[in-house]
């Protein structure tokens, strides 16, 4: 079986498990929506202020609640599942690519479902919204890659649920910066290409690191 075929099958397996519970659509998105409703109650319900804050809050919520997408139960393989994948001779790099593909698609779904909530609640300016077709997948890919890497290093640890968010949230800074600054540049009529380049560069760096680290990670997880 080719590398990409293996990766595709791993992603399909992860998405199938996720589709049975619909954890992202039925639990994480509503939880994030509750967060978006509560924030104005804390910072004030001034409409112009919320319009200004809307896009930034969207990305912060994607970053913080997106960790729950990464930590979802369907992303956790138990010992027997890992052993089976090893015995099947799946390339660790293909496994990393597959897990990343599945998580990225779910983060993208999370972003897409949360977008209308932000538009409805905060009424943000939607200048250059077409660029979101590039920005959203770039951020989702970055989150997926970070999730696979940090999820990999914390697999089977007792402190996984506390440690993984601590590792992901600060490391996701370039993604948050790239996304927020790109939207701000659009609003001010400046070029957003440097920010897209930053997002793409971070994704590429994480992908290369992930593929190279896949085999050592596989050996580390007993």
């Amino acid at each position: 079986m080719s590398f990409w075929r293996q990766a595709f099958e791993i992603a399909r397996k992860d998405l199938l498990v996720e589709s049975r519970t619909a954890e992202v659509a039925l639990m994480t998105v509503p939880f994030a929506a509750v967060g978006l409703i509560l924030i104005p109650l804390a910072i004030g319900t001034d409409a112009p202020l919320l319009t200004d804050l809307g896009p930034g809050l969207f990305w912060v919520v994607v970053l913080l609640f997106g960790v729950l997408v990464i930590l979802r139960k369907s992303a956790v393989d138990g010992g027997p599942q890992r052993d089976l994948v090893r015995l099947l001779g799946i390339d660790p790099a293909a496994r990393f690519a597959g897990a990343t593909l599945a998580t990225s698609l779910l983060v993208l779904l999370f972003e897409v479902l949360l977008g209308p909530v932000v538009i409805a609640l905060y009424n943000p300016a939607l200048d250059g919204w077409g660029w979101l077709f590039i920005i959203l997948p770039l951020v989702a890919t970055g989150m997926g890659l970070l999730g696979s890497l940090t999820g990999g290093v914390t697999t089977s640890l007792g402190t996984r649920t506390s440690l993984t968010p601590l590792l992901i949230a600060p490391l996701a800074l370039p993604l948050l910066l790239g996304a927020t600054q790109a939207l701000e540049s659009l609003e001010r009529g400046r070029s957003i290409l440097p920010w897209l380049a930053l997002l793409a560069a971070v994704d590429l760096a994480l992908a290369v690191t992930g593929v190279l680290a896949a085999r050592p990670l596989e050996e580390a997880i007993i």
Binding site: V153, T154, L167, L171, L206, T209, P216, L217, I221
Partner: protein
């Protein structure tokens, strides 16, 4: 003579740090900021050392993944610990400097925010190390995290250029010569201090590894005494 031969690094560090302190206190202060500017001789070298320390962590991490030799893991971990201390020092010194110059300890300034997040990234790295008990497994996981964490460094470094905010851009070549010489001397002093701390921490981590091994062997002996192979004689008796 033997003392100098074995402790030449400590002695040199002491001399250079002493010279930097004297120079830092006696050199003419900045005309605009006055004496408060002297904190630059702590803030800038501490930030530089944080970068250096995390750079050494990456080198140790990559080398461990290539060779699997434990001393590379110890180097990566020891350097990360020192790096966290110096990142904290850079942040605190920066805040003390910011109060009289910017009017507040903390502003939402890109360099400050990215540096604070860098501090938390490496705290996470150290937390990961504590969470894994098996030494080889710990080394492997930490090595990968040590490499991933380094992605943040160029962003912290470039933040003053990407967002022109309150924090000044690199000024090492634009300040007056006496101040510049003092700053370079302080950087040298901090680098020597780092080398001494790293050496000491490596010695300590070697002792920690030996202790860990002894504890592991001790716990194995207890388990070994508790779990014994079934005796045929006894099995026959019960049967």
């Amino acid at each position: 003579m033997k003392f100098l031969r074995t402790r030449w690094l400590e002695v040199t560090a002491l001399l250079v740090v002493g010279a930097a302190v004297v120079r830092g206190v006696t050199v003419a202060a900045d005309v605009t900021q006055g004496d408060v500017q002297r904190i630059m001789y702590v803030h800038v070298p501490a930030a530089w050392l944080a970068f250096l320390a995390f750079g050494v962590t990456v080198v140790g991490s990559v080398a461990w993944l290539r060779s699997g030799k434990p001393h590379w893991d110890r180097l990566a971990a020891s350097s990360a610990e020192i790096g966290v201390v110096f990142t904290g020092l850079a942040i605190v010194a920066g805040m003390i400097w910011a109060r009289p110059v910017w009017g507040q300890f903390w502003t939402w300034e890109p360099r400050l925010v990215t540096t604070a997040l860098l501090f938390f990234i490496y705290l996470g790295y150290l937390a990961l190390r504590r969470a894994v008990i098996d030494p080889v497994e710990r080394a492997r996981r930490s090595a990968i995290m040590g490499i991933v964490a380094f992605i943040q460094i160029p962003i912290v470094y470039q933040s003053v250029n990407w967002w022109r905010s309150l924090h000044q851009t690199s000024s090492r070549n634009s300040i007056d010569a006496p101040l510049r010489v003092t700053l370079w001397l302080a950087v040298l002093a901090f680098t020597f201090a780092y080398a001494v701390m790293l050496r000491r921490r490596l010695e300590l981590s070697l002792l920690e590894a030996a202790l860990e091994l002894r504890q592991l062997e001790g716990s194995q002996a207890v388990a070994g005494a508790a779990v014994v192979a079934p005796s045929l004689e006894k099995a026959g008796h019960h049967g």
